[in-house]
Amino acid sequence: MALIDVHCAPLLVRYRAGIFSRASLFTLACLLLTCICPLLIAYRSHGLWPRTASYVEQPRVTFRHEVLLMLHLQQSDQFLAWSTFQNLNGMLGDSLRIPLVKANEEDRNRDGKFDVLHFSLEMPLASSEVVLSADLLLTFSYQLHRMATVKLQGMMYASHSSPLPGSELHVNGDLMLTQRQPLPHRGLDVRYDVAVINGSSPFTEAYDIPLIIRAYQERNVTTRLDNSVKVWRVGSEASNSFRIAVLLRYPEQTIVYQPGFWEMMKAGWVQYVSILLPFIWLFTRIKDFVFQNQVLSTIPKHPVKQHHA
């Protein structure tokens, strides 16, 4: 009858030596080398502890319906302005003019998050008024939820000027998140959930665009208009209105964050163990060689011989 191997098991040979013998010292050295070498290799080849990682998320953005508009006219030091802030409008005097504003946000893929903002503004002009430059500032509420909950108030600033009198300005772009530092991986981050424009302030400094931008750029996490194309449509002098049309997308963002303790440990462990395994194999072979050949003197205990005796 033909026989087959149904199971096989190795026999354990014990090599015994005193605690302070050369064999013990050798075993200790092997153990240390087996553990430390992979660590050194993993560390030296960089990336043992990932300091930053990234993920992709579509933010929850809503237009706050705060607008600051400034149109510069051909006649020097004349401008038209309008904002959604009562205090500023009160200070503008003759320069204040009320435009027709339409804004709607669209959720194209029905995931509960807005994808696009359509904003249009039509400023009536007198026949003698010619617009050469436009500044528009819109503010947004911006939220991230996947890792840390981040709430911030951001803005979009679009500006264009031309030597030719315009009748329309079209802005088409993305609202992008700019990070100067990685976000935390958990918790609530409301550091920048602060109004971009302080609408309750009775001072003109609070509505000065360079000052607003200076304070805003101090923030480490901001939003800005990016990937934008602006089209300045040249109008005839007789046009009786100036129109601004903004199409702003809220795309998915790649967000850089600081991984937490367990994520770092996981990454480190995976690297360490994968380098450790060949070292364990190698040092087991070396120890086999040294002790089987009695390079260092030990007392071997063979299980089979013992059984016979």
Binding site: R22, F26, A29, L33, R44, V290, N293, Q294, V295, L296
Partner: protein, 139 residues
Amino acid sequence: MQVVRKLFAIRFLSLTAHSIILILIFWAKEETALTCLPYVNSEVELKTQNIKLTVALSLSLGLLGFELVGFFSISLLNATQSLLSITSHVIAAITLTFFLFDQVECNLLWWLFGFCSIPPAISELAIIIAVLAFNRKPF
């Protein structure tokens, strides 16, 4: 005897590997000295670094030479010395290869000199003294 012959071959190879890599670093000494210094450096600093490197490399090579002499004359068949020597020099050779490729900081040379060149040389010296002065067997 078979085992000691195997060890003998491995020990020779590890000693040779260590010495070859040391000589290679010796050849690339100028560049190594430059990479070990900060980007903004002075002529004096470069000279000092050069001297430091020369001393470390020469000492390592000297100890290696001493060990080679002992290896061929007395400790040829000493298994323990062979093990110690193989371990030290294999580690040193591999680490120095990294040193040469990655151009890490020059202090590594001194660490290697302390941990991988001195211990086998001391035990070699002990064996030579034991054999020559006390008429012990070399294995």
